[in-house]
């Protein structure tokens, strides 16, 4: 392999080849960073939540009668609603909940382990009634669900008391430093509210899946969720029964108390809406990546073609002197390989530079070397493919060209 002559030829025609190298370098930087961003955005959406997403339906109820301002009447209605929902065919479980996970709306407070002086951790929480663990589909890995007695306690009974809570494993690790803090207590920094852990679930999301710092931190507290303005139920359908169950839910609830506005949505629709902007951005980034590779590919074809045209006499001379078509093809492919390799080497620095700039200016995620390596390999292959047609053209230059003066 005549690497020496090829290298010298490249150095001789510096301008043109540096252009290809520069193009490839910038393309690598942009493509890898876009892929990085797209994977990060998509990753947040695809991350397993621990919920039975395919089977969950959310029911939002907004009363417009003043009667539901009475707490006792609300309790009655809540129980009747749950009874009606659970009685429907195809419904496996139902629970009342203070907000919908993954929806972007909810509550959070601050808690730290009792006896420590740590900074209180962000504690997204859901107040739930009976059947929460079963409905949500989360997996208990330590401890237990709430008991009927705990769920039956009235709000006043909780006054000043430490109340039971079921926490996600990530939360247990963060606040207590261990995955099974059963019986341990967490409290607010003024120590005026506290909960003791009765159970730990493997994974559970909060209302803000995009909020990376609180990822997978989630707590369930037993109580009587919902106020006279709004209440939520989550219904879990038996596998495959979601479409059958969906249309029955609003009637079931309105049958109990008709003076309410009811909105029924599947949890997946809710999740898609929360992530709509992110998913749209992933589509845009994909389009940009495709366009960019295409444009750069065309550029490489153009420049290599031009380079072949400029050197027709040289090629003809080599052929006349005995070089085979295969040798000429190999020559141009290796030359292209070298130039693109040069460009990619240049591009590595540019890619990290762009990543740094994007991280500073726009909170973009950091780049891992595996993605960069993968991107480089793909672009190398693409560049080689782009050079194939001009190289084949070069190989077909007839030796007789060397003998002509034009």
């Amino acid at each position: 392999m005549e690497l020496g002559p090829i290298f010298r030829a490249v150095m001789h025609q510096k301008g043109r080849f540096w252009l290809v190298a520069l193009e490839v370098a910038i393309t690598l930087a942009i493509v890898v960073n876009c892929v990085n961003l797209a994977l990060d955005l998509r990753g947040k959406y695809d991350r397993p939540t621990g919920l039975a997403e395919e089977e969950l339906i959310t029911v939002q109820v907004e009363p417009y009668t003043e009667e539901l301002a009475d707490e006792d009447y609300r309790d009655v209605v809540r129980e009747r609603d749950l009874e009606a929902l659970r009685a429907l065919p195809g419904v496996e479980a139902a629970t009342a909940i203070s907000a919908i996970p993954l929806s972007g709306g909810g509550s959070a407070t601050g808690r730290r382990a009792r006896g420590t002086e740590d900074e209180p951790s962000t504690t997204p929480y859901f107040v739930v009634s009976s059947g929460a663990v079963e409905t949500l589909g989360v997996e208990l890995v330590a401890g237990r669900d709430f008991t009927a007695a705990e769920l039956a306690m009235r709000t006043e009974d909780f006054e000043g008391e430490t109340t039971p809570a079921v926490v996600s494993r990530a939360y247990a690790e963060k606040v207590f430093g261990r995955p099974d803090p059963i019986g341990m207590v967490m409290e607010s920094s003024e120590a005026d509210s506290s909960e003791y852990v009765v159970g730990v679930v493997d994974r559970m999301p909060n209302s803000w899946p995009d909020y990376e710092e609180a990822a997978e931190l989630s707590v369930l507290m037993s109580g009587r969720p919902g106020d006279h303005r709004r209440a939520y139920y989550m219904v879990r359908a038996e596998p495959g029964a979601l479409d059958a169950v969906f249309p029955m839910l609003d009637e079931a609830v309105l049958g109990v108390e008709p003076r309410r506005i009811v909105e029924v949505r599947t949890l997946l629709d809710q999740k898609r809406e929360t992530f709509a902007a992110n998913l749209a951005l992933v589509k845009i980034l994909s389009a940009i990546i495709a366009l960019l590779v295409f444009v750069t590919g065309l550029g490489v074809v153009g420049l290599t073609s031009f380079s072949v045209t400029q050197r027709r006499r040289q090629i003809g001379t080599r052929r006349a002197l005995g070089a085979t078509q295969g040798a000429i093809l190999r020559y141009f492919l290796v030359e292209n390989w070298l130039v693109i390799g040069l460009g990619l080497a240049l591009g590595v620095g540019l890619t990290y530079g762009l990543n740094y700039a994007l991280a500073e200016a726009a909170a973009a995620p950091k780049l891992g070397w595996e993605l960069l390596a993968g991107g480089a390999v793909v672009l190398w292959a693409a560049g080689l493919a782009a050079a194939l047609w001009p190289a084949l053209r070069a190989a077909r230059v007839a030796p007789v060209v060397a003998t002509r003066t034009v």
């Binding site: 910038i26 942009i30 907004e62 417009y64 506005i261 902007a277 550029g299 031009f306 726009a362």
Partner: protein, 439 residues
């Protein structure tokens, strides 16, 4: 001279139609992508109320607990909203030319006809100054006055869409709407108004939908209207709604209009004196940490422009750069292919500078053509973006205004220079003699 250069450029383009088409397409693609993302950034970062943005100020008072700051990541910042008590106290001042405290809520509307079910409408609970401060346009009627606000009158201003839904779009001033099962009198109907970003309330993101109803702030207590936005507190409260209003929970946005620098200074002094007085009473326990920020400052601090918009802006511009660099090779080939012709011109007396200029003009002609096509393309891409990001919105979010058209043209011209400078330089350095010798 320019006309001559343009004629030569046009001839040259016509002689190589395929190549020229390729060049134009390259620039068009780059300009389309770059303009699209410059526009998205511009829409989110531009001044939503030019002419008044320096006179409207967002008020912040630090009523948080002394034990920890409101925002751990930015501990010097006061809370981003005010409490009810703060707002009531501050509204008593007559220093601002206009002032409005407000929050958003979901109120139930009961349509007249029995067939239609009640529905929830996004409501802005605010003071009458709001409309003039933010230059809200009216189709019919107008806002309530200070007297109606003080009297807690059940009056409402409708949004255009709700007016269409309830009254078929007619002039509904004077008619009755049942809200939360109380009769409200319609005083006015707002023309379609959706400032983007929604700078007067950024608490749940800046691309939120505008409100459909506007009711007086003074009705909050008796109707027990709760905020549908963010409510934060550092001390749990219990009891009735009235106790909630007395607590230190923050959930209101307050804007004041201060037309002169002197007015601003007076209000800042007033705020400082007010906080001092509250500290004496023992209510506010943190050191004085007020903020009075105008619209632009507030938008910057609240990070209204999503970081993704900045990222796409950078990527869009880099994309244009790559497209331009791609064209360098093609232009090199094209220009050097005409070296004999250039050699003749040089021999006839053309200077290097004029050869350079002429080729640059040719590049810019291509660039402008490409820019025009690119701008046309970007209207399509912007429409796609609108559909992706703002489903069912009344008004298009991303549109090309004059500024953005100008930006597109500027980008095209810049791309032309990037693509053409090196090839033009190479061709102007051609030694005439070499090419005159050849056939």
């Amino acid at each position: 001279m320019l006309a001559y250069q343009l004629r030569i450029a046009a001839n040259s383009l016509r002689r190589t139609p395929v190549l020229s088409a390729l060049l134009v397409a390259g620039i068009a693609l780059g300009v389309a992508v770059a303009t699209t993302f410059v526009t998205t950034f511009h829409v989110m970062a531009s001044d939503p109320i030019p002419g008044k943005s320096r006179q409207l100020f967002y008020v912040q008072v630090d009523n948080w607990t002394p034990d920890r700051p409101w925002d751990r990541d930015r501990p010097e910042e006061p809370p981003d909203q005010l409490s009810w008590r703060e707002v009531q106290n501050l509204l008593a001042s007559d220093l601002p030319a206009r002032q409005a405290a407000s929050f958003k809520a979901n109120l139930t509307v009961h349509p007249e006809s029995r067939e239609e079910r009640p529905f929830r409408a996004l409501t802005r609970v605010t003071r009458p100054d709001f409309f003039e401060m933010f230059e809200v346009p009216f189709l019919y009627g107008g806002p309530w006055d200070a007297a109606a606000e003080a009297a807690r009158s059940p009056v409402v201003v409708l949004g255009e869409a709700t007016n269409r839904r309830l009254f078929g779009g007619d002039d509904s001033v004077g008619r009755t709407v049942r809200i939360e099962d109380r009769p409200f009198t319609v005083l006015g109907v707002v023309a379609p108004w959706a400032p983007r970003p929604k700078f007067y309330d950024v608490t749940n993101g800046a691309l939120q939908d505008p409100e459909e109803l506007y009711v007086p702030l003074s009705l909050t207590l008796e109707m027990e209207i709760r905020s549908a936005g963010n409510t934060s507190n550092w001390k749990p409260w219990d009891g009735e709604f009235a106790d909630f209003l007395e607590s230190e929970s923050v959930w209101l946005q307050m804007w004041v209009e201060l037309p002169t620098a002197q007015a601003r200074q007076e209000y800042e002094d007033f705020l400082a004196a007010y906080v001092h007085e509250q500290q004496q009473v023992g209510r506010l326990t943190r050191p004085v940490n007020n903020r009075l920020r105008d619209v632009r400052e507030w938008m910057t601090v609240s990070e209204v422009v999503p970081p993704e918009a900045k990222t796409m802006l950078i990527i869009g511009l880099l994309f244009l750069l790559v497209c331009s660099i791609n064209l360098i090779g093609i232009l090199l080939g094209k220009f050097l292919g005409r070296a004999p012709e250039v050699g003749v011109r040089r021999a006839l007396g053309a200077s290097r500078g004029s050869v350079f200029a002429q080729h640059l003009v040719e590049c810019e002609v291509v660039a402008l053509l490409g820019g025009a096509v690119g701008l046309a393309l970007s209207t399509v891409t912007l429409r796609v973006l609108n559909r992706l990001f703002t489903e069912g919105a009344e008004r298009e979010l991303f549109t090309l205004d004059l500024t953005m058209l100008g930006a597109g043209v500027a980008l095209a011209l810049a791309a032309g220079i990037v693509a053409g400078a090196y090839p033009a330089w190479r061709i102007c350095r051609v030694a005439p003699a070499t090419y005159l010798k050849q056939q």
